[in-house]
Structures are given as structure tokens and as C-alpha cells.
Symmetry: C2
Subunit: 373 residues, 2 copies
């Protein structure tokens, strides 16, 4: 439906449903399976654009809710949209604001029209509708925008899940109707809670709109890991093979690899960045916390197998010292490492798929993880 | 007294006492007049080593008091001293810990032996002596270390100023006696409060020890700017011309240029870095505060005349947004700019001295500053 957006499946794994692809946008390409770091307020916390370039970041997710409230989507639009405002000429994706309205806004009230809420920043009252979400996302100007949905919490009453899933489909149609720009791809979001029947219905209704891509929403919201994996494994293959499939807000490295094996192409999660800021570090030998006393005089890098600039230049002892001394540089150096771990994992997964070896790569990753815990 | 350390005066201005020189240390050179950013805990706050390299930083000051308390000088020593610990192979200078013991420590008690104090971090009791200061600074392994002194507050009783100034000279002799490493330069610190007589006496006693360089301490401690400038103008020319002259803790750009005209070679100050973290920005048209509403939609860089990466890439509007949203990246981007302003000013001053044009450069700087306020 937009000529600027394109998705190509370049290779399939064979043993699993994993696929290696490439998204083309007006601001460049993104290799899939892709991990999108979260740049909530127009900045991946602690990093600058050059850091992102050096990490190999392509798609970055920015939060519509946050940018609507501060600095305001009109400010971002007048400064050239997200690309002009942030000075980063690579692809952006914005979420619809729905998830944050529910998780951060106060005094939420959902109607057919939309969601009333109060800003978590200054208490001001607002109403988000599918039409406003699209208007804001068009002002922000990301390459991929998301339809306005309700991310159904877990647990929830069956009847509520059904009503909400139906409403999200109606909202998705309204989003499509409100869209005016031809240079942004619109993705729809499949809901349906933990019900196979509702998930299938949501897929059918949403894919009937012939959107540019499809997301599975409402996962990693409190359900058990087997439940989450069951729904992802059930719903991912129902989505059209020629469009990108995106699971929102997931997650742990092992969960991402599992979902890649279901044929999912895109992921976003705050974990690598948020965990870095609390000192939790991903390594090829499992997680570590840099605050621990055992690192006090440890001259080794965070991860001997990591090629990131933090591991190339700094010891665990120095990073622990910076962290405990409250030095802001610690948060950036650890964020660079954690994102580097995620990006290296995604790059290895893409290579494995292209070589028809993803099943073995995934098994080796699980093996290593199990032996380190 | 150390073969590794060398100072050469490369040019003098002619109209003023300003001189262009070069310090050589085991870890490289530093062009003078030099501005040293403050890396209190072994990191210039918000920056990493590559940022410092790209800014052109040569000498960086680290605080003995902070590193003694955390992570401990033994930890730093065992990881290769400051250079090994921080991964930065360029010159470091450590202060003696004296100033921080007085300004940050609790329950201070000064005796001839040294200073008892309680840690501002955890309340633990310690005693700093000239001998311990040297022991700690030898463990930290900076290229230039400072004699242990008392930075006399202002105002202070005449008798106290005399007694303290005499004690600092005795402490300086003890520092020289305690020194064991041959690869570190030791600088003495001239005190004497606002008394010309005591300053002259302190210079005579301290320079008689034939140290590698000399600092003027006890300035910018509460006295008026004319008082400070009077003492600096009086004492700087008394110091030997063939050794570097260092005014500690100064300061404002205009104060640095003024003191360069007195023949001072080295400066350190937290102002560019600390001000950046509160949003106060140095520009060629005067200071601005990035929080101000007037920058909300301003697409211009912080300073159109600045060549720093922050000004090359980002608008005032974006930097203001990041700052107000509490994004850690704002603090780093603003620190890079402020230090870039200081380093560009120092580089211009050095070029002006080499061209015999410092008097005019200084006059033009004052003129611009006056017209912008």
C-alpha cells in the first residue's frame, strides 16, 4: 500500500520457520530478524547517534505517548520529524501510544471512541483515539507506524478479552482510514489474549486490511512463559508469510531466539538498555551483576567473546568502580555492551538462518545458557 | 629531578607575560597554556576516553581523596595505576587530597602530623599526612603529583594564614622526602592567603626545593575577583620561568585568559563539566541555559562558531528536550560542547601567543563577552 516500504524474505532456515529478510524504508534498510532498541523520548537512553551507528542499529523504536506529551509532536514535526529532530537519518518505528496510555497514564477510561488519561508527567488530561494516534505518528514521521490497540492485561475475563479484541480491530480500521501519508508503513496489531480462537479471529480481521506488516501484541504481560510461547507459536504462522511479523515487547535473548524459530522477524525490548542501567550484564557465559564484590579487582572484560568498545577498553574492576561511584559514563559503557550482545546474537541468528543452521545455533545457545545457570 | 618530565617554553607573547610551552611526561605531551578537565573518580563525568581523545584532552586531573576512598589506591595500583585502571594512556595529574579533605571530609582536625577526617561516603575515619598523600599518589601513578597542602579558606585570621602557610612548606619538604618513584613529577603549592609578604615567603621556601613545577593554591576560595587577580599577578612572576606554573581550581574562561597573561601555564576547573550537567552552556556569544523556553523550537546549534560533534549534529531544541526529559545523553552531549569551548579557547590562546598576538586576542575576547552581557 506504500511504495516506499518493502519486505523481502531472503532465506528460510528449513528445519524451523525462521526466515532471514530485509525491510526497506525511506531511511534505509533493516535486516531481519531485527532487534529494535527502545528510544523512548527520541534517544536510546545514555547513547548518541554515533553509538547507535557503531553498534549497527538500524530500526529504533520511539514512543508516541512520551513524544506527544514532551516535547509535543508539533515540535518534532516542525523540526523535521524524528529524523530531523534527533539528527539520525536511519529508520524509526513508533508505537501507537496505546501501551503507554494503559501502563503509564493515570485515570484511564476506555470507550469505543478512545482512551481518556492523565499525563504521568504533569497530570494534564488527554484523550487518545485511533485518529489522534495516527495524526501524532504522522507528525513524528517514523518509517513504520503502528495501529492503535489495547494491550490486554493478564489475567483478564474472557468476555473482556473478546470485547477488547473486537474493539482493537475496529480501531485498526479507523487508523487505516485516518492515514494520510504515503511514505509510512502501517502495521496492525493482533490481540486475542491467551485464546487461540480469538487470536485466529484477530489475525483474520486484521490481515484482511492488507497492511504493511503485523504485530502480535498482548504477550509478555504477566502470563507464564509456556503460555506466551504457545500463543506466539500458534499465531505467528497464521500471519501472511510475505509481510514482516513483529512480536512487541519481547524480550529475553532466549525468548527472541525461540520466537525467531516460529518465523517472527522483529522484536523490541527495554531489557538490554534498562538492565545495563541497573548493572545487569549479558555475557556469553550468562548474566552477571557488575556491582558484585567479586568484580572489584577483576582485570577481565565483561565478556571475553565480545567485540564491543567497552570490552575492548575496560575491565570489570573499572566498570564496577564507575557504577558504584555513580559515574554517568558507567551507564553508557554498560548499555553499549548489552546492546552489542543483543545485536551480535541477532547477527549470528541471521547468518545461521542463511546457512540453514538456525536449529543448531539455537540449540547451542540454550545449551550454553543452561550450563551457565 | 626526574628525567622523564620536561618543560619547554616554546614562545613568549612579548606584550604580556604569556608563554606557549610544552610539558613532556612518560605518557605523552601537554601543550601549555593547558586546561585540565577534572576526572574526579577516574572519569571525566559523562565522558569516555575516546570522547577525551576527540576533544584533544591531554592532561586530565584525578582526585586523590576520592580514589583513596573508592575504589582504594591499592585497587588502582594493582590494575596498573590510573593509566591501566582507566584504560587511558595519556598524562594524568593527581592533586594531593588536601583540598577535598578540607572541603568534603567531616570532623576535620589539623595537626602538624596531618589531617584527621571522616569519609563523606561512609563516615570511616582516616588520617591524611604528607607521607600518605605521596604513597597514595605513587600508587595512583599519575605523571604529575602534587605536594600535600592546606588550601587556606577566605576570610581567615592573619595569624592562621601565617601558621598554615609555614606548615604547608614543612609538609612540602616531607612530601619530597617521602617520594620514591623517579618517573613522577612533583609540584609544590604556594600558599600565603591574600598577603603579598606570605606569598613571597612561600614562593622562596617552596622553589628552594627545586621541584618540577609550582602551583598557586588558595585562590578562588571566596575572595573578590580583584583580590584573586592581584595575588595571581603578584605571585606568578616570582615563580621560576623555566618551570610550569599552575593555578589550581581556576576557572571562568575570562579568568583563565587573564592569568595566562600573567605567565600561568596550567589550569583545572570543574566549571565546564559541572555547568554542562545543570544546563549552563558556554558559547562565543556568552552563556545560555538550555532549559530556557526560548530554545524549545530553536533549530540552531548551541554555538554556530563551534566545531564540536554536539553542535555539528544537534539543535538547541533537541538538546533542551533531552535535558528536560532527564535523558542521560543530554549531560554527555552538553559536556562535550562545554569542554570543546574551553579547549578551543586554549588552542586559540596558544596560537595567539606563538604569533605574539595574545594581547589582542585577550582584548577581543573581553570585548565580545562585554557586548553579550
Amino acid at each position: 500500500m506504500t511504495t516506499a516500504f518493502q519486505f523481502d524474505v531472503l532465506a528460510t532456515d528449513g528445519k524451523t520457520a525462521a526466515r532471514r529478510g530485509r525491510i526497506r524504508t525511506p531511511h534505509g534498510e533493516a535486516d531481519t530478524p531485527a532487534f529494535m532498541p527502545v528510544g523512548t523520548a527520541g534517544s536510546v537512553k545514555t547513547l548518541d547517534n554515533r553509538d547507535l551507528d557503531e553498534l549497527g542499529a538500524q530500526l529504533v523504536l520511539a514512543n508516541t505517548y512520551h513524544l506527544f506529551l514532551r516535547p509535543g509532536h508539533d515540535v518534532v514535526r516542525d523540526l523535521g520529524g524524528l529524523h530531523g529532530f534527533t539528527g539520525r537519518a536511519k529508520p524509526y518505528l513508533t508505537d501507537s501510544g496505546g501501551f503507554q496510555v494503559f501502563s503509564l497514564g493515570d485515570f484511564r477510561k476506555i470507550t469505543e471512541e478512545g482512551v481518556r488519561f492523565a499525563s504521568h508527567i504533569d497530570g494534564t488530561r488527554h484523550m487518545f483515539t485511533p485518529e489522534l494516534s495516527i495524526e501524532v505518528q504522522e507528525a513524528l514521521g517514523a518509517d513504520i507506524i503502528m495501529a492503535f490497540d489495547e494491550c490486554i492485561p493478564y489475567p483478564a475475563e474472557d468476555e473482556y478479552v473478546r470485547q477488547s479484541t473486537e474493539r482493537t480491530v475496529r480501531w485498526t480500521r479507523r487508523c487505516l482510514g485516518a492515514k494520510t501519508r504515503g511514505d509510512q508503513a502501517l502495521f496492525g496489531i493482533v490481540q486475542g489474549g491467551m485464546s487461540e480462537e480469538l487470536r485466529r479471529w484477530s489475525v483474520e480481521q486484521t490481515t484482511a486490511l492488507d497492511l504493511d506488516g503485523y504485530a502480535l501484541g498482548g504477550l509478555s504481560v504477566g502470563e507464564s512463559k509456556p503460555q506466551m510461547m504457545h500463543i506466539a507459536a500458534f499465531a505467528a504462522p497464521l500471519l501472511p508469510a510475505e509481510k514482516p511479523r513483529y512480536v512487541m515487547g519481547v524480550g529475553h535473548p532466549e525468548d527472541i531466539l525461540e520466537m525467531i524459530s516460529f518465523g517472527v522477524d522483529m522484536f523490541d525490548c527495554v531489557m538490554p538498555t534498562r538492565n545495563a542501567r541497573t548493572g545487569t550484564i549479558y555475557t556469553s557465559a550468562g548474566r552477571l551483576n557488575i556491582r558484585n564484590a567479586c568484580h572489584k579487582t577483576d582485570a577481565r572484560p565483561l565478556d571475553a567473546e565480545c567485540a564491543c568498545p567497552t570490552c575492548a577498553r575496560h575491565s570489570r574492576a573499572y566498570l564496577r568502580h564507575l557504577f558504584l561511584a555513580g559515574e554517568p559514563s558507567a551507564l553508557r559503557l554498560l548499555t553499549i555492551h548489552n546492546l552489542s550482545f543483543y545485536f551480535a546474537m541477532m547477527a549470528a541468528a541471521r547468518r545461521a538462518i542463511a546457512n540453514g543452521a538456525f536449529f543448531d545455533y539455537h540449540a547451542a545457545f540454550r545449551e550454553k545458557l543452561a550450563s551457565s545457570e
